[in-house]
């Protein structure tokens, strides 16, 4: 009796909702039915493949027998996918460095934690991460950077890319609005030139063209060159977004700051940028997210980032043919990172409002 009542009231609530949201009108009803059918065709087989029939810790041979997903390709090659050619016995070092980085990032999410101590914490943390990766002192065996790869490399390129590109972009945006012709011209040329070429061509230039101009004997590490290309590229896009924010600030704000006698740097730092940067949080995060994904382009200059190490496992004859599993895994890692970033930007925007 009671249960029947509950059932009835549940139906009473769900039916109007269905009618209002999914079946209001003939056209919408057709779309709903078609979509439901498509989902029915896609979802159950996917679940069967990915979970029910899947193998997680088997050999390659066992995978060939089954007809589900072969996640074993990931588990069996996990350490290569994550760490690339970093010496097997020393892989705890990049692991620790990554944990440190993620830990610092998570801690820094809370704006109440932003203070001098945290700043020094970051300096110390970054120094320690570099030490872990490179070694060479304190009894840590040295590992040359051409052995670095996988997730730590991707995280490094992305992290330093964003951290350095953002201030550079702000400076370029200010330069573009400068009254000094030389600075203005340089900023405009820089921004337009960089935005006129694809990142790939910048990466090629950094790896092939750039070394030709260096004096003989001087070489700059390949990772650093790729890193520079990413920073220079991202900064141009940040600059344009920040310029938009600066333009949105009323002239009266500049005048009020001037009339108090604030110097130009003070005016920018205390009055104009806090307001302008707040406005451009959403588009800036968009740019940072694409910069993060674009780090995967470094494969073309033969750096072993996460995407490249994952792909490499597929060239092992044993594991050939399991690309859906591998690419889904990589996509998941990228998705989690990007989702976290855009989530955080939304939170920050709300807090600053």
């Amino acid at each position: 009796m009671n249960r029947e009542l509950q059932k009835k009231s549940f139906l009473n609530r769900i039916l109007p909702w269905l009618k209002e949201n999914l079946f209001n009108g003939v056209f919408n009803s057709i779309i709903t039915i078609v979509l439901l059918f498509a989902l029915y065709k896609i979802i159950p087989p996917f679940i069967k493949w990915a979970f029910v029939d899947s193998l997680w810790r088997s050999t390659a041979a066992a995978c060939r027998e089954g007809n589900g997903a072969c996640w074993s390709v990931i588990t069996a090659n996990l350490r290569f996918i994550i760490f690339g050619f970093y010496p097997y016995d020393l892989q705890w070092r990049p692991l620790l460095a990554m944990i440190l980085l993620v830990g610092l990032l998570l801690y820094s999410k809370n704006r109440n934690h932003w203070n001098k101590t945290l700043f020094y914490g970051w300096i110390a943390g970054l120094f320690f991460m570099g030490l872990l990766m490179k070694g060479g002192i304190l009894g840590l065996a040295p590992v040359e950077s051409d052995k670095w790869g996988g997730l730590p490399l991707t995280m490094m390129l992305a992290f330093f890319g964003m951290i350095a590109a953002y201030p550079l972009g702000v400076v370029l945006a200010l330069g573009r609005r400068s009254k000094m012709p030389a600075i203005k011209t340089f900023s405009v040329l820089y921004i337009e030139l960089i935005r006129g070429v694809p990142l790939i061509s910048l990466l090629f230039m950094s790896s092939i063209l750039f070394p030709l101009f260096l004096p003989e004997g001087l070489t700059i590490n390949k990772i650093i060159r790729a890193q520079m290309a990413i920073i220079l590229f991202t900064a141009a896009y940040i600059a344009e977004v920040v310029r938009g924010g600066l333009q949105a600030i009323a002239k009266g704000q500049y005048e009020a700051a001037d009339s108090l006698g604030l110097s130009f740097p003070q005016k920018m730092r205390l009055i104009i940028l806090p307001q302008a940067l707040k406005i451009v949080i959403p588009p800036s995060v968009g740019i940072l997210i694409s910069a993060f994904k674009d780090t995967s382009l470094v494969v073309i200059i033969a750096l072993y980032d996460l995407l490249k190490t994952s792909k490499s496992t597929l060239s092992n004859p044993d594991w050939m043919g399991y690309s859906p599993e591998v690419y889904l895994f990589v996509a998941a890692i990228y998705f989690i990172s990007c989702f976290a970033m855009s989530n955080y930007s939304r939170k920050l925007e709300k807090e600053l409002h």
């Binding site: 009266g252 005048e255 009020a256 001037d258 009339s259 108090l260 006698g261 604030l262 205390l270 307001q275």
Partner: protein, 257 residues
């Protein structure tokens, strides 16, 4: 207070605080200010009026270099305005400015709006800057709003905060550019009262305004500006009751209706 207060002002040469001689300014082709000569003495209060577009704002904005002049000299508190950025910043710190649209900093609280200048320009310790800020907020009757943000206040309240923000810099001169013309009528009085108090404290003030009552009660001189020139200059009572020039008469007949 009447025009007799004019006699309070010491018109010795060492008491000059603003000296403008042969000032010209162009906006492109437009000759906005044409041969302006004006000397302001310490403690003097001047009201500037004139038709829209005549150059009143431009004139007072030249005094703290929000606008650059092309010809003539402007000496403020003994320092000549030139391209020297240090001199400009020094003068700006001594000259407060109140705008028609308040121009408070929306991302800072009222208290932070007031302490920003003293802390960063005057290098006042934060605690002292906050005490000064609270003193002036009391003076403009708005101390209880100290922790709010500008967007939460009414226009009249915002303008009073703007005045207090300038006062926190302990300026020697205050410039007002139509401080009440963006306000609803019922808020005009609260702002004018604050300005009258300021006048009674002996502040040197240049006020662009058409508020005749205000001019009559505090001004030593009224200037009438038209087409970039100072057409007429007189004590407020003479100016309003017995204007000399035809253009002044025409203008007054328009604003008094």
């Amino acid at each position: 207070m009447t025009n007799e207060t004019t006699t309070d002002i010491h018109r010795d040469s060492q008491d000059k605080i603003i000296e403008i001689t042969g000032l010209h300014k162009w906006f492109g082709e437009l000759h906005v200010l044409q041969d302006i000569n004006l000397t302001v003495y310490k403690g003097e209060r001047i009201v500037i009026c004139g038709p829209s577009g005549s150059g009143k704002s431009t004139l007072i904005r030249c005094i703290n270099r929000l606008e650059e002049h092309q010809k003539g000299r402007i000496i403020v508190d003994g320092t000549e305005l030139s391209n020297n950025i240090k001199n400009i910043e020094k003068i700006r710190a001594e000259v407060g400015m109140v705008f028609q649209h308040f121009n408070l900093f929306p991302h800072l609280s009222i208290l932070e709006n007031l302490t920003l200048g003293p802390i960063w320009v005057r290098k006042t310790p934060q605690k002292e800057a906050e005490e000064t800020a609270m003193f002036y907020l009391e003076k403009v009757h708005i101390a209880e709003q100290a922790l709010k943000y500008p967007g939460q206040l009414s226009g009249g309240q915002q303008q009073r905060v703007a005045i207090a923000r300038s006062l926190c810099m302990k300026p020697k001169i205050m410039l007002f550019d139509e401080p009440t013309s963006a306000l609803d009528p019922e808020m005009v009085k609260e702002v004018l009262d604050v300005m009258i108090n300021l006048a009674e404290d002996g502040m040197t003030m240049l006020v662009v305004s058409h508020e005749m009552g205000f001019a009559k009660s505090v001004a030593h001189r009224v200037l009438f500006v038209d087409y970039g020139k100072i057409v007429e200059e007189n004590t407020p009572h003479q100016f309003f009751d017995n204007p000399q020039h035809d253009r002044t008469k025409l203008f007054l007949s328009q604003i008094l209706h």
